[in-house]
């Protein structure tokens, strides 16, 4: 049953499938080569493997604790293909349930968010409290159930694992994952740099922006770590910025860097596919950061979190928490998640992330900065979204050979040591540092290595199970 029919009656054994997948990522980084097969962006069989073994085989970001601050608050989401409810119960504990009625499977809660002490299925009115207990089976007495029937045996099904780090909630559909902290590794440092921006942590500004693009999810994964595209893809945005400076509608750029710090970009790669890129820009090249609008706010952060933490809060940072979340902190802070719908279609859910309790004027500036660049209606992200569609279009040329998009950064850098190792003091798997025009692409490798590890692991296990079953 783990075999899938491909084409007219041909069945691909799992072992063969495993070999096929291994050939898709050719990792020879030590000799300057790293190739990703175009087919993993377009192939439906690969897509099925990704959903099953990547998204449903590891930790996924689900939501923020601050989205459900009160007893009985909930939000709905997806992990891989599975709809889930992230629910705070009446006593304040957070649970994550599959969003499906135990009776006949209807989606229990079709709303995005709300507050419910009891969810009543609209099909036959089976009811569940906010702790997941089945509290009512309608007309149970007249239902001629067998004596052994007990509604206590039919609670909402919990996902395998649920943990929170600094208010960022992650869930896994499989038990076979390390503790969240170990899973995040050094990437946790950059969640700290978001959470540390307010004494009470961060929240979403009300209003989610959701959209789809006709492209594979890995195009978003790559682009969120891709500094190289900025000058070309966002050339029209840069023209608008120049126009604003010329006409005085925008304040001149600022820097928050000390005189001794060079303009630079760099990347960090971590365990389990996470990675981040940063940019250090000087005078005239940095927008006013909302967090820096009020010097008292910076003082408060410095006192609470320390000088090094503040320094990094003010730098441009793009974090990917593999496989489904990116946190971008530039002129505003964005948290985006994606849900792959098919090889060629991806759903995005995006939010403006902000310190809880931020001053109203700062909040308004943050929102305007956000709308300016992000959103399908913004002057930046819309260009990215269309580029994903153009790449997807190009990748349909499946026989056109290797692409060279994973090679920048594989040579020798100018520095022998990470200049920020002391400041950041976090575990990394790899670091790269270079000028603003560096555009490291080796930062994508960690994600592809984890992608392959998860699919290999899943396929090997299923192949073994199948062989045992047939032995």
């Amino acid at each position: 049953m783990n075999q899938r029919v491909r084409g007219a009656g041909s069945v691909v054994p799992l072992r063969e499938k495993l070999e096929m997948v291994r050939g898709m990522i050719r990792d020879e980084a030590d000799s300057g080569k790293f190739h990703v097969d175009r087919k993993i962006f377009t192939d439906t069989e690969i897509f099925d493997l990704e959903m099953r073994y990547v998204f449903e085989g590891t930790w996924n970001f689900i939501g923020l604790e601050s989205q459900i601050p009160n007893p009985d608050d909930y939000v709905t989401a997806h992990i891989g293909r599975h709809p889930v409810i992230l629910q705070r119960d009446h006593d304040g504990e957070i649970h994550c349930f599959y969003n499906t009625c135990r009776h006949r499977g209807a989606v229990l809660c079709p709303y995005k968010q709300g507050n419910k002490r009891v969810h009543v299925c609209r099909y036959h009115a089976w009811s569940y409290d906010s702790s997941g207990n089945c509290v009512a089976v309608s007309q149970a007495e007249d239902g001629q159930y067998h004596d052994s029937f007990d509604k206590a045996d039919w609670p909402l099904m919990r996902i395998a694992r649920l943990e929170s780090y600094r208010g960022f909630i992650f869930g896994s559909l499989t038990d076979d994952v390390p503790p969240l902290k170990d899973h995040l590794g050094g990437a946790a440092k950059f969640l700290d740099l978001a959470a540390d921006q307010g004494p009470q942590g961060v929240e979403y500004v009300p209003g989610e922006v959701a959209y789809t693009f006709d492209g594979n999810w890995k195009l978003q994964f790559e682009n969120g770590l891709d500094f190289y595209h900025f000058a070309a893809t966002h050339a029209s945005y840069m023209e608008v910025m120049k126009h604003r400076e010329k006409t005085g509608t925008m304040a001149p750029g600022k820097t928050y860097e000390g005189a001794g710090v060079d303009e630079a970009t760099g990347t960090y790669s971590y365990v389990h596919g996470h990675a981040m890129m940063y940019a250090i820009r000087k005078q005239g090249r940095v927008h006013v950061r909302p967090i820096a609008k009020d010097p008292a706010v910076l003082d408060e952060i410095r006192d609470r979190a320390g000088e090094d933490q503040l320094k990094w809060i003010l730098r441009q940072r793009n974090l990917t928490v593999f496989p489904n979340m990116q946190l971008v902190d530039i002129s505003a802070m964005q948290l985006r998640t994606w849900r792959p719908l098919s090889p060629g279609k991806t759903e995005m859910r995006t939010h403006c992330l902000a310190p809880i309790g931020e001053a109203p004027e700062t909040r308004a500036l943050r929102i305007r900065n956000y709308e300016d660049f992000f959103n399908p209606t913004g002057l930046g992200a819309s260009d990215d979204n269309l580029m994903y569609e153009y790449v997807q279009y190009g990748y349909e040329a499946g026989d056109a050979g290797d692409t060279s998009g994973y090679l920048r950064g594989l040579g020798e850098g100018a520095l022998a040591e990470d200049p920020f190792a002391k400041e950041l003091n976090h575990p990394t798997a790899d670091w790269k540092y270079g000028p603003v025009t560096f555009g490291d692409e080796s930062v994508f490798h960690a994600g592809y290595r984890e992608w392959l590890r998860l699919i290999e692991r899943g396929l090997s296990r299923d192949a073994e199970a199948e062989e045992v079953a047939h032995a």
Binding site: A210, H243, A364, T377, L386
Partner: protein, 175 residues
């Protein structure tokens, strides 16, 4: 509802006609990609606002504390969007979609010699030659027109887009 006294009726009909004319002209200029004529329909201190949906039933109401898709408090924001297209450097505009704007159900809510406020329904057919696909956007407008030395101008436009699952790109010419 319409006041039946002849003078009042004349004023109402006049206001409805002005609103219809301005909105039709706006759609026409956008369809013709005559950006300068389009911009000229807006007052320099106009508000152009596209809120988003908070939940299944409610759109955002406060752009200072909630997200919007677009919120400009002067014509400058619209001019920058035109400038971006004209740089010929944005892939969103290479090529631009062809559009047909249709505005209907125009209702004048209040009118005076200096100001007309109203609502309308809109539909934009949007053909993208890049992918050979026609899609459509639709929703409601709320508008305020101001009588200026240069004629009736749009002083405020709120565009409520029906969808909350958006396409990859959406801009002023598709709203």
């Amino acid at each position: 509802m319409l006041d039946q006294k002849p003078d009042a009726l004349t004023a109402d009909i006049r206001a409805a006609r002005i609103a219809e004319q301005v909105l039709a002209m706006e759609g026409r200029f956008l369809d013709l990609q005559d950006w300068d004529a389009w911009l000229d329909l807006y007052a320099p201190d106009c508000t152009y606002w596209v809120p988003i949906w908070m939940d299944e039933d409610t759109a955002t109401t406060d752009p200072q504390s909630q997200m919007s898709l677009i919120y400009h408090t002067s014509r400058t924001g619209l001019e920058e969007r035109v400038l971006r297209i004209r740089t010929r450097k944005s892939v969103t505009a290479m090529p631009l979609p062809r559009t047909v704007h249709m505005v209907s159900n125009i209702l004048v809510v209040s009118q005076s010699d200096t100001e007309i406020e109203g609502t309308a329904a809109w539909n934009v057919q949007h053909y993208d030659p890049r992918v050979g696909k026609r899609t459509s956007n639709c929703g409601h407008y709320e508008f305020t027109l101001a009588n200026t030395a240069g004629g009736w101008k749009i002083a405020r436009k709120k565009v409520i887009l029906l969808d909350d699952m958006l396409p990859a790109v959406i801009d002023f010419y598709g709203l």
